[in-house]
């Protein structure tokens, strides 16, 4: 366990040293969030009753999404992992007394957390200070907030487990580009990164909510904003745990198979 923790630590401290990237990220995400909220504002002012989420819930959803972008963006994959597979540096990783899957998993988690830590606080603080109705509201009660935190971590784990599949598939395809392009755009759409899942037609929403993509940002962000409560919430958390187990088990099996038939590229 200590091995994976120190992997986590090194990746985490490495992530913290990119200050300029963090500043640029904060600015981009702040403006992106503001634009999105203004667009929704325009729609809501036409007929607020027709929308599945309250405007204030919508605003909190957007700000949290921007603050934790590093948790839930599929496209924030680690190029270094693809590189080790493509250029054969995987040879060194394989001659360590360490499980490849766990190693990459802990390093991806560390990477995403270090990015989020640098970016989330300024965005959250500004969003909290903004005037009604553009600012972020507090969660309904402390219980909801705790469940939000738990599902946030679960969502991150599901996201990383999903990315692990993309890394492992690269063992077979060598070039990650194709898989990457398809899976990133599909995930963005299906996970509620572009528009929240409640905005989909009811029947489609039902299907989407049972997919692993909904176990990423959809659950924590909607719990925080109070859009997901009661039995629906419990069910969503159970699904998160279920998908996490499925993705990790599947990923580990595929990874073991890939390593056995691995060829090291480039001599």
């Amino acid at each position: 366990m200590k091995k994976y923790l120190s992997f986590f630590r090194l990746r985490f401290t490495m992530g913290l040293q990119y200050r300029a990237a963090a500043l640029a990220g904060i600015a981009t995400q702040f403006f992106w969030g503001a634009m999105e909220i203004l667009v929704f504002r325009a729609f809501y002012s036409a007929d607020a009753g027709n929308f599945p989420m309250e405007f204030s819930a919508m605003v909190s959803y957007v700000w949290l999404q921007q603050a934790f972008l590093a948790f839930f963006s599929v496209w924030m994959l680690e190029n270094e992992i693809f590189d080790t597979i493509m250029n054969g540096n995987i040879a060194y990783e394989l001659c360590r007394p360490i499980d490849i899957y766990n190693m990459w998993f802990s390093r991806s988690i560390a990477n995403r957390i270090s990015r989020a830590v640098l970016r989330c606080f300024p965005i959250l603080i500004i969003a909290a200070l903004l005037p009604e109705p553009y600012g972020m509201s507090l969660p309904a009660d402390i219980m909801h907030f705790i469940i939000f935190l738990i599902t946030l971590i679960l969502g991150l784990a599901v996201m990383v487990a999903f990315c692990m599949l993309i890394y492992v598939i690269t063992f077979f395809t060598i070039s990650p580009n194709g898989v990457r392009a398809i899976l990133t755009s599909a995930t963005e759409f299906l996970s509620g990164a572009i528009i929240p899942l409640p905005f989909f037609p009811r029947s489609i929403q039902r299907v989407l909510e049972s997919l692993p993509f909904a176990a990423m940002q959809n659950v924590p962000l909607r719990i925080y904003s109070g859009n997901l409560t009661g039995a629906e919430m419990t069910w969503a958390v159970i699904l998160q745990v279920f998908w996490l187990m499925v993705l990790v088990t599947g990923g580990k099996m595929l990874c073991a198979h890939a390593v056995r038939r691995a060829t090291v590229q480039g001599g």
Partner: protein, 262 residues
């Protein structure tokens, strides 16, 4: 003790001729060629031996090293290292070995070298005491003092290679595989590295298997030479067996390659 018996490994390689038409043709039917990287390779190496593993480019040297270090699984044949099958018992096996791939880097690019070392300490669960004394010894012998605090990306090739070698020895491995460790080194670094490897072998009894194209490395370090060509072991003997008086070592080896038509 290392024993390899009748190990075979082949790769499937897609081949086509140059040009646009050929590329279009390859869209529909692709020609694969089976490359026999290793063809019935067998040898035995005793504890504490230093062996030079030589052969022309593409002979199968690196494939052998990768099988010995548990990275690749051979198609057939057996391999036992101190009672372990490397690819089946990978994690337990790699704890006991050190590997240096001269063409690759194991150091983290963006952080000081010492951070990579600390990580290796945790990965191999090296006790603090052992780590301290090994680090001190390696720093001293390989002259790393100034390098440890700089990021790996800002080191020159020779400086980096010295750090790479140190990184592979922090956990006091019993067996050391060196795949072209002196590639791109200047004269001073080369001598330092050779000296160092020799000392490791003398004082710690480390078994060393070395592949290189630099025959001076072989001459300085090893007595026993295993020659591989086209995936087959062609000769297993000492440097004196092949040495001819009027030729330099490089000419001798070139002569040897020619006589085997490899």
């Amino acid at each position: 003790m290392i024993t390899m018996e009748n190990v075979c490994k082949s790769y499937k390689v897609a081949k086509r001729n140059a040009g646009f038409l050929e590329a279009c043709k390859a869209l529909f039917s692709r020609e694969y060629e089976e490359i026999h990287a290793l063809d019935n390779v067998s040898f035995t190496i005793r504890d504490g031996e230093m062996v030079g593993y030589i052969g022309p480019n593409g002979a199968g040297k690196s494939s052998t090293i990768k099988i010995l270090s548990g990275i690749l699984t051979p198609d057939s044949g057996t391999c036992l290292i101190d009672g372990r099958v490397p690819w089946k018992d990978r994690i337990r096996h790699v704890k006991e070995i050190g590997v240096v791939f001269g063409q690759r880097s194991q150091l983290w690019w963006d952080v000081p070298v010492i951070d990579s070392f600390e990580l290796l300490k945790d990965i191999y669960s090296i006790p603090e005491q052992v780590y301290r004394s090994n680090l001190e010894e390696l720093t001293d012998l390989l002259n790393l003092g100034e390098l440890l605090r700089s990021p790996a990306r800002q080191l020159s090739l020779g400086q980096r290679m010295r750090c790479e070698i140190a990184a592979s020895l922090l956990h006091s491995p019993k067996i050391l595989f060196l795949d072209e460790p002196t590639i791109g080194l200047d004269a001073v670094s080369k001598l330092a590295v050779r000296d160092f490897i020799k000392k490791q072998n003398e004082t710690h009894g480390t078994t060393v298997i070395l592949t290189t194209h630099d025959m001076q490395d072989i001459e300085a370090l090893t007595n026993r030479i295993i020659l591989i060509g086209k995936g087959r072991i062609l000769m297993d003997g000492t440097i004196n067996d092949i040495k001819q008086n009027d030729l330099t070592i490089d000419e001798t080896v070139a002569q040897l390659y020619r006589s085997y038509e490899i």
